[in-house]
């Protein structure tokens, strides 16, 4: 098994935190191997943020740090969907933040279109956890890692005052 995961959005949307939580959960709490990279624009908000993960059950298959053709992709913004859509393979499972994406390319993808940012704002109480709402959806649909593993990592790396909010955001799709 070898899966390439691409997560992309604009600076300020929590892309790197999302990617780190997912990568750490896989590395620490599963038998899977993972290599990954992060890129982000120098400006605090607005530029490209992108996390690539290569996940495999054999160490020698987790062999590169960038996706060639993503099997799982999550786009939190139209700009990055437009920029990186060719890095997503046919048949891929793709999650799109409907709050920030209106123009969906005609591709042979299995698309999950949900307003993660609006859900975070209205249902959870802060648009800042839109990334974790989306992560919950990705974990529910792909089962790439258990929800328990993600929650453990959230508790380990998120500041104490924000843990409950993030757990609530993460569970939004999982309990549905």
């Amino acid at each position: 098994m070898r899966v390439e995961v691409l997560i992309a959005g604009r600076g300020g949307q929590g892309i790197l935190l999302l990617g780190h939580i997912l990568g750490a959960a896989i590395a620490k709490y599963t038998d899977l191997h993972v290599l990954g990279s992060e890129i982000y624009a120098a400006e605090t908000r607005g530029g490209d943020s992108r996390v690539d993960l290569v996940v495999a059950d054999r160490e020698e298959e987790a062999d590169f740090i960038k996706v060639a053709k993503a099997d799982i992709a999550l786009f939190m913004h139209q700009l990055q969907l437009d920029a990186y859509r060719d890095l997503v393979r046919d048949g891929a499972t793709v999650f799109l933040d409907k709050s920030n994406i209106t123009n969906i390319p005609q591709r042979n993808w299995r698309i999950y279109l949900e307003p993660y940012t609006d859900i975070a704002e209205r249902e959870i109480g802060s648009s800042r956890v839109a990334n974790i709402v989306a992560l919950g959806h990705l974990v529910k649909i792909t089962s790439i890692v258990t929800p328990e593993a993600i929650e453990k990592v959230i508790e380990e790396i998120v500041s104490r005052e924000w843990i409950d909010l993030n757990i609530k955001a993460f569970r939004y799709f999982l309990v549905r």
Binding site: H20, A27, K28, H33, G36, E38, D63, F64
Partner: protein, 374 residues
Amino acid sequence: MRYEYLTGNIAIAEASIVSGLKFYAGYPITPTSDIFEHLARELPKYGGHVIQFEDEIASINAVVGASWACAKAMTATSGPGFSLMLEALSLAVITETPLVVAYVMRTGPSTGVPTRSGQYDVLQSTYGFHGGLVIPVLAPSTPQEAYDLTVKAFNISEKLRTPVVLLSDAVVAHTYGKVAIRERSEVEIVDRSKPSTPLSEYRPYDPVDGLVPPMACFGEGYSVLVESLTHDERGYYAPRSDAQRKLMWRLYRKITESSGKLFDYSSLYLDDCDVALVSYGSTALSTQVAAKTLRERGVRACSLKLKTLFPIYEEGISKLLKNVEKVFVVENNVGLYYRELRGILKDRDVVSVPLIDLDVPLPQEVVGVVDKWL
């Protein structure tokens, strides 16, 4: 043992702690500063010291001094900083001082593109200092290798009483990966051998029955001479050809004759291979995938990733590639390590694949160049 999700840089910092690091001195420089920052937080918990000096020259000299006080010592830097450290590295070579330099390469020359990657300093890492000898150089390509090779670097430095360069690059520095973190009891740790002679008979540069002298540290009662001039076994200045000859050959042989023991590599499909892609560091990630891609297309390709770059184990590398028709040396520079390998593989067709990329070269780029030669 436990698993963590770490970058190459943090893996180096964690491994240095398990290796017994007690003293880190450094000056911040991209892309190494998070090694420094991590150790500043963590090392004091293990009884170690972390100090920022005024520059890289002071840092490496402090590391030399700390090692003579029996502390396992390390610094980390990048191209411009390593250039400043070269004089003191030469001092460490002649005084046979165990220490580790984590050298995280970035794009050069000079300030180049400070935040981006390259492998331009592969020859400088071992040949840069004056005096014409060899410093062992190890090159990781993943966070796990960064962890494992850091432990190995400390062990080599202690066993052979030599500086060792851990040659990483900006890509490995920032690559995240699953890393098996081992407890001290789960790792083989080598400590320098200590003199067993009576205090009055100790000769600090007498290798006794091998090539590496037992090392007494300051404060242990022995008379310790740290001599940068050509010296005899007592450590006394000896400006004579016979003394220079004896010292040079011993310092040279203790490293080069260990090349087989220090050699470390990994490979894919080497047993069934016509076309070998040889690489090291982050570029080796690209060549591994490129080898797989070529095989899918019916080319009998393989990859050989060298984790020990110096001293070069000529016999071993030649033997590994003995059945190969063509060897491609893939690196992110103008083809520097190729110059080392073509001398060893004289009877083979050796081709340089010099890629210049600010990031990790993509596998298709490697395949594209190799294709032109097939």
